[in-house]
Subunit: 471 residues, 2 copies
């Protein structure tokens, strides 16, 4: 759950995650996201209820438990102007009460029945889940269906939870220079698309969010036709269908669900750079982002090729960047590359690094660029290509060996308006990626005009002295 | 009208203005905006009608004409998410019809009575004006009051005008590398505030604007309590008040006007850079923007000090930058500085330049930075300070010698939630600016973390060759 790129981890109890950590973990996530489900021999059922609720059931009889997730096709990128952080705030408030469930009781009831629950918000979706003994699936559905339409909030709930959110932002972002840096990097990277805004919201907006804002957003987006139910566990599709009809089937849509529109990125024209100094930083940090297609927007197997390319270029200790800049040239303390293609509208290709002690940032960056130029001319050799694809597919299969990850991969695919098939065919299409595909996809992405380069640096020497010296 | 920073000039007949031109002309505008009206011996009357409409009357009996302006406190920064360009699009559509005025007749009627009319949209406001013989003031008010609430648009109007707007954007922005560059520079400069978006809108948003979008925006913002009427001309306040009551006074507010909220800029933390190559460019262009207070947000006389500083630093052929970099060192083809403090929420301090033939961009920028450092240490000497203030005040008085400029300065002050007094006291406060005030204001603004630096460069040599050379 922590690995969701640009997402934010549910309730206050979730572990802190920084924007930078999220960037660094993005590769791990994409492995999970686009994993070859077929290889797991998944029995998947996919249908819709009459009210439009989309349902995915995956049978998994290894243990008598179920994972129940409800996804809404609404995230931070769907927030109204001046109300950043609203989707995430609503996620928090969904743990308050309804007519049937007293404020704060939701999670306690789940816990009392031996289960666990949480939620998460990303740029594109908001999701709620419970993991519980299979005999309680009906109860969980009843509770989740109830809060889909009957949320009751008081001014006091909003006021109290606002303090929690503000503290969350303070702790995870304002107090963490790497998180602040990551936030500004992303804001500089996206020219027009709302992905540029942090999921948690800008503090100035967050502290003004009101009960009316939350309820308007809830009423507009939380409705069966805008939701996806995913159940993975020791159940049959028939059992789930029966229960889903009983609990979710009777909900009526109170709003019309329209296709989402977010200002798309204009054609990339400018190479951007960003430099931040912070006294709390010891080691300089390098981050480079490139505009890329997402799995949903990619043509042909571009996105698959970028996944393989990122892994070959900087996916681990055998990758090109690691071997050249750490093992051979000893210039970097760490270095890596990642591709995130899971967002609905735009993907990102990233490179990160830190110079080894005593190495000038400029020197390291120049060598990274030199390696990139080489790779863009020479490509990835066949041996490395084969090894990379095998590693990619294996770790994806490994990452999917949990109900939570299985539910998440299909839920997030549908919540970003992608398809079940795109997930099911992922491993086959990864296997088919050729060296030529990689060169073509990489050359289209690794271009100055697509890039935003950031350096987070230790605080400089005091200004007056520097100015004096220059006189 | 052309000099409105980040504004956009009215109807299709208005002259093309590029974002860059607007930046370059921003200084000229601010001179006009904050001019010492007292020096012109202005008779100003300021009152409100019962429905909240704010009225400013300035008597000017030099000729038997009046300038009539209606300002709405709504601009591009108030547009809903995903609908950039909406305020400007509505401005265009206001020249269609009402029940009383046939489509396209508005301007024809004005013209038939010997008058002229137009409109303009900025980040903060939308304004409509007519200049006409004084005996037609009542007729003009009747027409303007009519379209404040009775706009009638057809799907066909919207479709036709959308083509006009798209063509306007194509011609002024997409076809002009300097305009494209200016647009991206501003988008990189503002981290969170909607000033980062172009007033004309991003093309992808613009082409999807609908009749429903326009009417919802119109209904929400065009109402007497959100408007300002400015009349300058050969009339008395009593005459204007009588006519205003008759025509505007009977309009009822159909919506509640709430204070505007736009996500403010978070604390500035990162120095940003941006580089754009374009084959159509011959001479490299340097642009630097700094986050600054606006006249409305400034404390004490910060904004006044920044106006004087910009003029002293780079306001003309006697300015520091001009003398150093053009006359003495012969490094620049042109160079200058400007301050724009007229926007509601944030101001901008800017420096622009182009290298003389044969001079490397890096060399020029390094010298600009060196001059800046010097000035920030040594300040502006008393002789220059005095001369600069006199020049600033005189050119402001000169610029105000027209009904249009007079109407605009007071209208825009009120439309950005500033005050009449701020305009009336401008020259006195400029005169009081000390060298110490300037140093203090300049040092707070001229800091790397406040800055966005852009270079627009001729297209580079073909890539493959460059890569070959580096191997």
């Amino acid at each position: 759950m922590r690995a969701f790129p640009a997402g934010s981890g549910g309730k206050p109890s979730a572990s802190p995650t920084s924007a930078l950590t999220l960037l660094l973990f993005a590769l791990a996530f994409i492995l999970a996201f686009m994993a070859p489900a077929l290889a797991l021999d998944v029995k998947l059922h996919h249908f819709r209820l009459d009210n439009g609720l989309e349902v995915v059931v995956i049978e998994d009889h290894r243990a008598p438990v179920v994972t129940h997730m409800v996804w809404y096709r609404v995230g931070a990128a769907d927030e109204p102007a001046g109300k950043t952080g609203l989707a995430h705030f609503l996620e928090h408030l969904m743990f308050k009460g309804t007519k049937k469930i007293a404020p704060g009781e939701f999670s306690k009831i789940i816990k009392r029945h031996g289960g666990e629950d949480n939620a998460f918000t990303s740029r594109d979706y908001t999701a709620y889940y419970q993991r519980i003994a299979k005999e309680h699936l009906g109860m969980v559905m009843a509770m989740e269906a109830d809060r889909m339409q009957n949320l009751q909030l008081s001014e006091r709930d909003v006021k109290t939870e606002l303090e929690v959110i503000k503290e969350e932002r303070r702790e995870r972002t304002e107090n963490d220079p790497r998180a602040l840096f990551g936030e500004r990097l992303v804001a500089a990277h996206f020219v027009a698309h709302p992905y540029r805004r942090p999921v948690v919201g800008w503090m100035a907006d967050v502290q003004r969010l009101t009960l009316a804002d939350v309820m308007a957003f809830y009423r507009r987006h939380y409705t069966p036709a805008n939701a996806i139910l995913v159940v993975v566990g020791d159940v049959t599709a028939e059992e789930v269908k029966k229960l889903a009809k009983e609990h979710y089937g009777r909900l009526k849509n109170t709003v019309e669900v329209k296709p989402r529109w977010r200002t798309p990125e204009p054609p990339p024209l400018t190479a951007r750079r960003l430099k931040m100094h912070d006294a709390r930083v010891r080691l300089p940090v390098f981050q480079r982002l490139y505009v890329a297609p997402s799995y949903r927007t990619a043509k042909g197997n571009e996105a698959h090729a970028l996944d393989v390319f990122a892994e070959a270029l900087g996916g681990g200790t055998t990758s090109v960047l690691y071997r050249r800049l750490i093992v051979e040239e000893k210039l970097a303390a760490y270095v890596g590359a990642w591709y995130s293609g899971d967002d609905r509208d735009h993907g990102t290709f990233g490179i990160y690094a830190a110079p080894a002690p005593g190495v000038e940032p400029e020197k390291l960056e120049a060598r990274i660029d030199a390696v990139l130029r080489e790779v863009l001319v020479n490509g990835i050799d066949e041996k490395r290509l084969k090894r990379t694809k095998t590693a990619l597919v294996s770790s994806a299969i490994y990452a999917l060996d949990s109900q939570f990850m299985l539910a998440r991969i299909f839920g997030s695919a549908l919540a970003t308006d992608n398809t079940i098939e795109s997930v099911l065919q992922w491993d086959e299409r990864i296997e088919k990626v050729t060296a030529k595909d990689i060169l073509s996809a990489a050359r289209a992405v690794i271009k100055p005009a697509n890039s935003t380069t950031g350096w987070l640096l230790p605080a400089p020497a005091p200004k007056t002295a520097a100015q004096g010296a220059r006189k």
